[in-house]
């Protein structure tokens, strides 16, 4: 109990400070508008009036934390799940594309990694480009990819899933190749001395020793897939998904909507990474690799 507390206390303190700064910022940034309104109506605002008004605006420049919390709660629990105003519905649209893309990308990454480890020519052909491609801002052109697909008549889940797959593919490929290569010369020689077949060597040595690396990159990959999907929902015309909520919020100046969508995305990201983390722990423990 005290251990938990000792770990939680600093985090909670920092969170409180952030929230306090947030409130201060909300009052300061929203004050200009209130002052203008007051001047127009030629009334004087007391400090307490000022604070209550800046924290309850309809379209604040910076919504206060409790406004975001209310917006988030309303979006999640306050609507029928099938409603277009339900964050759960939008999150589901985003999540399904993310998961589809993640499955495709991670699967392809793992398969290609196995090929690369077994074929030298494949390694030398693909790896340099795979590494170089990481430096290219693929995500930035994601919205454009969507538009191009749309002009070819393909809309909905698939284009977004392709972007998500593309983004989760490289971390998995690189991590898995690294993992499959971790057994050192001594362990490989030992396998050889038992005259193990290639197959046995793969299943008994390479694959188990690659798992810690695989899971680390899966966590990166699923977060990247989510970001890819959200960015894929940004182009004008998209109406579903958390990215579309962000965009429509920014068109109509609905700042509370933007922030709620942002926090919903954050929760989704944290949840996905946590799930991969749980699977990782369970798997590694069963294999006796957990520390």
């Amino acid at each position: 109990m005290t251990r938990v507390w000792r770990n939680a206390a600093p985090v909670l303190t920092v969170l409180m400070v952030i929230i306090a700064i947030w409130y201060l910022g909300a009052v300061r940034m929203n004050a200009t508008w209130e002052r203008d309104q007051a001047a127009r109506a030629s009334e004087e605002l007391t400090t307490s009036q000022m604070i209550t008004r800046t924290l309850t605006q309809d379209r604040p420049i910076l919504p206060a934390p409790h406004q975001v919390a209310v917006g988030l709660y309303d979006g999640i629990a306050g609507q029928a799940i099938t409603s277009r105003r339900s964050l759960v519905w939008h999150a589901w649209v985003t999540l399904s594309a993310t998961l589809a893309g993640f499955a495709i990308g991670a699967g392809a990454g793992i398969l290609l990694a196995v090929g690369i480890v077994h074929s030298r020519s494949m390694d030398q052909s693909v790896m340099p480009w795979a590494v170089a491609s990481q430096t290219v801002p693929i995500l930035a052109i994601a919205p454009m990819v969507i538009v191009v697909f749309a002009s070819a008549g393909i809309t909905g889940l698939l284009p977004k899933a392709i972007i998500a797959a593309w983004l989760s593919f490289f971390p998995v490929l690189v991590g898995m190749v690294k993992g499959l290569r971790t057994p050192d010369a001594m362990q490989l020689d030992q396998m050889k001395s038992w005259s193990a077949s290639d197959n046995q060597q793969f299943w008994r040595l390479r694959l188990p020793s690659s798992l810690p690396y695989l899971f680390t990159s899966l966590k990166v990959a699923i977060a990247a897939a989510l970001v890819g999907t959200i960015v894929g929902e940004l182009p004008a015309g998209a109406t579903a998904g958390l990215g579309a909520r962000l965009l429509s919020g920014s068109y109509y100046g609905q700042t509370v909507q933007i922030w709620s969508a942002l926090f919903a995305a954050a929760l989704l990201a944290a949840g996905l990474v946590a799930i991969v983390g749980i699977i990782e722990k369970a798997t590694l423990r069963r294999m006796g690799l957990a520390r």
Binding site: P10, Q124, S125, A265
Partner: protein, 277 residues
Amino acid sequence: MNALPIIGVWLGGWALNIWLARFDTRLSRMAVAVVFGATLLILWEMAVRIYAIPAVILPAPSQIAASFAANGSILWTDFVQTILRGALTGWLIGALAAMLTAIAIDRSPFLQRGLLPIGNFVAALPIVGIAPILVMWFGFDWQSKAAVVVVMVFFPILVNMVAGLKATDAMQRDLMASWAAPYAASLWKLRLPAAMPFLFNGLKITTTLALIGAIVAEFFGSPTRGMGFRISTAVGRLDLPLVWAEIVVAAIAGTLFYGLVALIEKKVTFWHPSQRK
């Protein structure tokens, strides 16, 4: 029938690479990578021509190159606006802020234990999402793009730098203690040099993030120049070769940016096992 030449080129490139890979020298490795890239380009060009794929869906490499050559000044303006003003400025400010923050909280285990979990959490979030907010706050010009980049690169660099400042081994810290070294000396002479490999790890990861942030933020509003602006308007006019030319610029800029940071890393952390030759 049409597919035959494509399959031929593919098999040819494949066979050439299998043959080349047997040598396994530095030169042959480079050749393999180049052959692979060239094969892909040729296949792309052939596929577009043979199947007469319209340029609005996928332009051929030759069309992209032509557009690249024809739109030099536009591409340059966009490059300056998005990469130099937006991405680079933001990256520099964000990196500096993250390093200073890391040093500031280095003395306080309490702050570290408070900030690090939050930093790790935020580093995994879809931060590009704050772009619409920051565009609202800082206006349409490059300042808002730089602000997005600052927020995007801050946490990954912070997390790496804090880990780096802690990455000294116990014996080296004990040595410093046995010499009664004051805090500043142990920071300058031990912790900062030891943190460099970690710092550069963060700096390298964030070069791509910086470009992404700067380009994506332009989709939420920009002046009439910039790569994100150009991409979205060119898509509207179905001028796909220009879009792809911008993508090529982004790719080259990204690779150069990364390469430059990696080069500086090599100079600064020459002593690290991963850099020794």
